[in-house]
Amino acid sequence: MPATSAGLPERARPVLDEADISRALTRIAHEILERAKGAEDVMLLGIPTRGAVLAKRLAARIADVEGTTVPVGSLDVTMYRDDLRLKPARTLERTEIPDEGVDGRLIVLVDDVLYSGRTIRAALDALNDLGRPRAVQLAVLVDRGHRELPIRADYVGKNLPTSQRESVKVRLREHDGVEKDAVYLGTESETAL
């Protein structure tokens, strides 16, 4: 089967294109500022790997809109996952907490896809070991449903109805070496790189 430029079989269906993603991020940036009443104590922590990329993009959007830079970092949740024993040992990703620290801040966790909610549960635990934020919010590019824990996103780029057999793959320029950002929906084999 011929592959697309994203390295994906053609059958995987693009559900968001570059423009969609860009608009979603801009909207989320605005919403964060609106709810936080400014950017003063906001800190963005992306969950590696693509969540960290999205956090950086959001920070840039906020800077464009507000003219101030918000601290942005990454929070690896691997060591906090509840499914470690179910899979081979995983490689750790980078955790980079800005020097300001998380205490008393409004932390916005950023991830690409919200699914079972288990990653966010792990992130909340990881955050707990780092300090005591004023509040924690969650921003995701795609919410595909099927939650297994009482977790919801505060900011959603797109709500995407899926079946559990399907797989959602986010491809970002900085991370995946693709020419254009996109989000694909298909079966596991269809969306596998």
């Binding site: 690896d76 060591m79 899979k87 081979p88 040992a89 995983r90 750790l92 980078r94 070991d129 300090g131």
Partner: protein
């Protein structure tokens, strides 16, 4: 299936880099107020030490505890081992107690290998030093320290000086550093070099002064005083003069070169006090890095349903290869 860390010779380059990278991430976490991670909660790590080594045992203990594992220290002193209980029976006991991993230090070369492969235990085995064979986590923490200071190991010149013959640290370091692309030179009097060293992936020199100026890192090995009575060299003074690192020799090191020692040091013998305490010395840092590296090893061996590092062991294959000679 990968299960154990017994020898650096078993580590592929990818394995070694994975351990060092993981340790790097873990080291970043250790600056946090809450250093504990929940990763190995409910797992039991046994420190099985047949030889005294407070340093290594403590390092493993801290590493395991920071990952939330339960730690049992089982040392030869005050246990049934000193009454002559065998390695096998000790292993069976620990197995019955439900140890997930056994960190073993033993005076016999191959003890860790035996523990892992004799069918006495299903635990993961981490070699914390076996006789004069290997001490893989020491080599990993050395490599980690060097990588941090030298910005990488490929092509870096590492000089290891001292009692190579009896040194498990040297053996583990030579294998690991070669795997990681460093150029290793061993320096020692010929009496303290093993037979057949020509086949090791390193250079050998008897002349420290000629090697010092071409060293990015120099690692001094401990020389035990009993080696002198074994007739390996004439006097401490002569050894120190020919193979010790003092300020004068250190001055001939390249500008950014570092001085290392696996500890415990014999100040005034293989290393002078001013060198050990100098700015080039990374000896204290080695100790700190030991915890991160050991956390990485425990994490990679224990956290998943399959270890990420170590030799690949075919499952259910206990039949040992029988060589049919020439």
């Amino acid at each position: 299936m990968k299960r154990h860390l017994l020898s650096t010779a078993d580590l592929s380059r990818d394995d070694a880099v994975l351990i060092l990278d993981t340790a790097e991430e873990i080291a970043r976490l250790s600056a946090r107020p809450i250093k504990k991670l929940p990763t190995l909660r409910g797992r039991t790590v046994v420190n099985l030490f047949f030889e005294d080594s407070t340093r290594t045992r403590t390092s493993f203990e801290v590493a395991a505890k920071r990952l939330s594992a339960d730690v049992i220290n089982f040392s030869a002193k005050g246990s049934s081992v000193s009454k002559g209980e065998s390695l096998k029976d000790t292993a069976l006991t620990l197995e019955a107690m439900g140890a997930d991993a056994v960190v073993v230090r033993h005076s016999a070369s191959g003890a860790a290998y035996r523990l892992a492969n004799a069918g006495w235990t299903t635990s993961h085995v981490v070699n914390a030093g076996d006789g004069t064979h290997e001490h893989p986590t020491q080599a990993l923490l050395d490599a980690f320290t060097m990588r941090r200071h030298l910005g990488g190991l490929e092509g870096r010149r590492v000089t290891i000086v001292g009692d190579v013959l009896h040194s498990r640290v040297a053996r583990s370091n030579v294998r690991l550093l070669a795997t990681l692309g460093a150029q290793v030179t061993l320096v020692a009097p010929p009496t303290l070099l093993p037979v057949g060293i020509g086949g090791w992936p390193c250079e050998v020199s008897y002349d420290l002064d000629s090697v010092v100026p071409a060293s990015d890192a120099i690692m001094m090995l401990r020389v035990q005083r009993e080696r002198m009575s074994g007739g390996f060299f004439p006097t401490e003074r002569e050894y120190s003069r020919r193979y010790g690192l003092d300020a004068q020799r250190m001055a001939k090191l390249p500008e950014k070169a570092i001085v290392m020692h696996p500890g415990p040091m014999v100040r005034g013998m293989e290393i002078s006090a001013d060198v050990a305490d100098s700015v080039r010395s990374v000896i204290v840092e080695q100790v700190a890095n030991g915890v991160s590296v050991r956390m990485a090893v425990l994490y990679l061996l224990l956290s998943g349903n399959q270890s990420a590092i170590g030799p690949d062991i075919a499952e259910n294959d206990n039949t040992e290869k029988k060589g049919a000679g020439a």
